[in-house]
Subunit: 108 residues, 2 copies
């Protein structure tokens, strides 16, 4: 669901991926990575969607580029990154962007 974020500026890591067929522990590992990222300094929130065909987008929001870099180096996250390439993903794209403007709308 929607992340509760402060006003911009902040950073977005846009991670799009295509899953390989089969579960292979992916769901549990993805949940663990979200839990771990949530404890990482500078993590602001995340939004995620994956279609039935296996294409997914997760956007994680961070306070700073330095904190994104620290999360990338986290030891348990590094193991998950390796397993992602070995097992879970047929491909991915990762884009780091600075959010400059944000709008919200909710049905009254």
């Amino acid at each position: 669901m929607f992340a509760q974020l402060p006003d911009p500026p902040y950073y977005a890591v846009i991670f799009s991926s295509l899953r390989t067929p089969g579960e292979a522990g992916y769901g549990a590992a993805a949940a663990r990575m979200m839990e771990l990222a949530g404890q990482s300094p500078g993590f602001l929130g995340a939004e995620s969607a994956r279609s039935a065909e296996g294409f997914g987008i997760t956007v994680c929001y961070w306070r700073s580029l330095a904190e994104i870099a620290a999360w990338k180096r986290d030891a348990e996250h590094q193991i998950a990154q390796q397993q992602g390439r070995a097992q879970w993903y047929a491909g991915f794209r990762l884009r780091v962007a600075k959010v400059e403007r944000a709008e919200s709308w909710d049905k009254a």
Copy 2:
């Protein structure tokens, strides 16, 4: 699927939304908006995923902020925006970000 993009910098419009129940012409309108955006100057590509629960993320990539603003003002797109609030969405978030770095990985 994955968008084919030039090297950064470029801009991302991250649109996350929760659909209302029911189709109400959404699929056809979404496809038409992608077709129309694709003809809009400065459009670089898009990636999109929506879960079975109705939460979706579409990221459209653009060359410049001015071209994003022009697309927002497009007459047919404006009608779709109105219909989105009236019918298709329970809520949405729209974030405009400057992509500074990108990585790709595909299984060999």
